[in-house]
Symmetry: C2
Subunit: 336 residues, 2 copies
């Protein structure tokens, strides 16, 4: 291979020979089971039945590769998790890559391989894709737009209309791991940590509880973290949320880094956790199911729904209370 | 409104207040008919029936606004056209925006409005979306990843397996308008022209002929232009194509600019044309249908399928022949 071809060139996006070879050698070879590189649009493969749901997300994480994952696995998990939290199983994905001129081809291969592996592990097929190349200084190495289609049995949809004061709030594991791991991976901070991103599919968690009739709401707390999920739910539902700070699982390394750098772990992204709001009488059952799962032993009940319209109250370890507020400043751009 | 808010800031992508307001004020207000901004994934609206097809494309065109369109209308038409050429009608779209810090909010509003208008005109609903903001120097103003889902009556699918020597090649209008218009719009060339991009939905063209039994293949010649479509078809089918250069419609302004700048119009992008390959006996009927359409009066028969495996031969006005070859160098990055 020509040495120049180890870096992505503008010609890799021009529709000609280099682009054809790149798509064949990198994309089709990793994603061969589902990718027709000649077609403009492809027939949707037969699915499992049920109602079809759709979601879409863009990924710009920096660095592209971080402890615990890379932009490829993150992109799959991000979209699969958005399908999972509405009670669906993923079916097919589409991927739109925007590459920056000068990107090392090895990095692209790693990311596409990682994306393909994550998709397979989640039972999703990549059926359509596109690649563009932008000039140096007009991109960020790799950006990926992913759309996901999934199937859901209607009875597995969370019943948000049933949300009521007294419902309890569960989280499937410690919060803030992804945000902190990405932060640490950015050299500019000059800090070291063994913390890894929680980047993973949450399907095992949503599948474990979606059959319970008392599930009101599920969400993966990504951008803006746990606090933002709670604030959005309060705003949307017109009810309030009361959180017990001591019950919210946060790893000591995450807490330490946050103290050092002035971040609040409740606002830092997770990429492999679920927040669920449940009827109180089914909470114990749900927690037991979650704690049996590989990443679920720290699952916890962290609070409950209240009548305090639109308010999210955090009860501190000392018994005080503070109102959580919407993010204003950006703590961490390009976190996902 | 705070003056700073007239420019996109990193905080517009952080999941917090500014992002919520941006999504509400810009995206939801333009796309309100189909957009649930609270849901992680939405139920696919009921469609017209038939088999479902899916496609995906990324858009990085520069400049963002060009004569005849902008990245918003281009993104819709690009994806709708990929559905159209397989014989489908568009149903829903998803849009993933990557904004660059410092983008003028007015430009974003124009683009989202244009995208929404184009989608409505094509009968497609935007049902899911995402917005990320990257730092200055890591983007290109606006990039958009779009996925489209459409429905097709199986009998409307082009029958590529029937492709046979003697079939004829039609094009729905002059080629190279988009590529040339975008080229002209880049100030660095210092040239002026009244040429506009052909950016448009090709649905009227594909709908007009897809009921004919002799349609073998349709494609919108975007990146790499007409020549690349012909080369891909030849490579894929194992047959050849013979084109008559004098029959290929090219506007005088396009030809003039290409002569001046050293481009070949056959390799320049169209964004509102269709190339169709047809059974010879239905070609006249197809052309008549096309020429009755608003943008179809220059539709032409430009060549035929041959047995010369994998070769695309261009017969020049002087009776000579030359082999068309795959693009190597990139003539125009960020053309779509």
């Amino acid at each position: 291979m020509n040495k120049n071809h180890r870096l992505i060139q503008l010609a890799h996006g021009n529709g000609g020979r280099l682009m054809r070879e790149l798509i064949q050698d990198v994309f089709a070879s990793h994603l061969s089971s589902g990718l027709d590189t000649f077609a403009d649009a492809v027939l949707l493969p037969a699915g499992t039945g049920g109602e079809m749901v759709v979601t879409c997300d863009g990924f710009t994480v920096q660095p592209i590769v971080f402890p615990g994952g890379d932009i490829g696995s993150l992109a799959v998990h991000g979209v699969v998790n958005d399908l999972a939290v509405v009670g669906a199983d993923p079916h097919v994905l589409t991927t739109s890559f925007i590459l920056e001129e000068g990107l090392a081809r090895e990095v692209l291969e790693q990311v596409v391989g990682s994306l393909a592996g994550a998709a397979r592990a989640c039972g999703a097929r990549v059926v359509a894709g596109d690649t563009k190349v932008v000039a140096r200084g007009e991109g960020g190495g790799i950006y990926i737009g992913v759309t996901g289609l999934g199937y859901r049995q209607p009875q597995h949809a969370p019943k948000l209309a049933d949300l009521t004061p007294g419902d309890v709030i569960l989280v499937s594991g410690p919060v803030g791991d992804h945000g902190t791991a990405v932060l640490m991976a950015r050299e500019s901070f000059g800090l070291k940590s063994d913390l890894r991103s929680d980047c993973a599919s949450v399907l095992p968690f949503t599948q474990a509880i979606r059959t319970l009739s008392g599930v009101r709401f599920m969400r993966d707390p990504t951008r803006g973290g746990l606090a933002t999920v709670c604030l959005e739910l309060a705003r949307h539902s017109g009810l309030g949320l009361h959180l017990q700070e001591t019950d919210i699982p946060v790893r000591p390394q995450v807490r330490g880094m946050c103290d050092l750098l002035g971040y609040d772990p409740l606002y830092l992204a997770c990429e492999g956790r679920v927040v669920a709001v449940m009827a109180a009488q089914q909470a114990t059952e749900a927690l037991e199911r979650w704690r049996q799962l590989p990443q679920g032993h720290l699952a916890a009940c962290i609070g409950q729904v209240t009548q305090l319209a639109g308010k999210v109250v955090l009860e501190t370890p000392y018994g005080g209370e503070r109102l959580l507020e919407e993010l204003e400043e950006d703590p961490l751009p390009r976190i996902c």
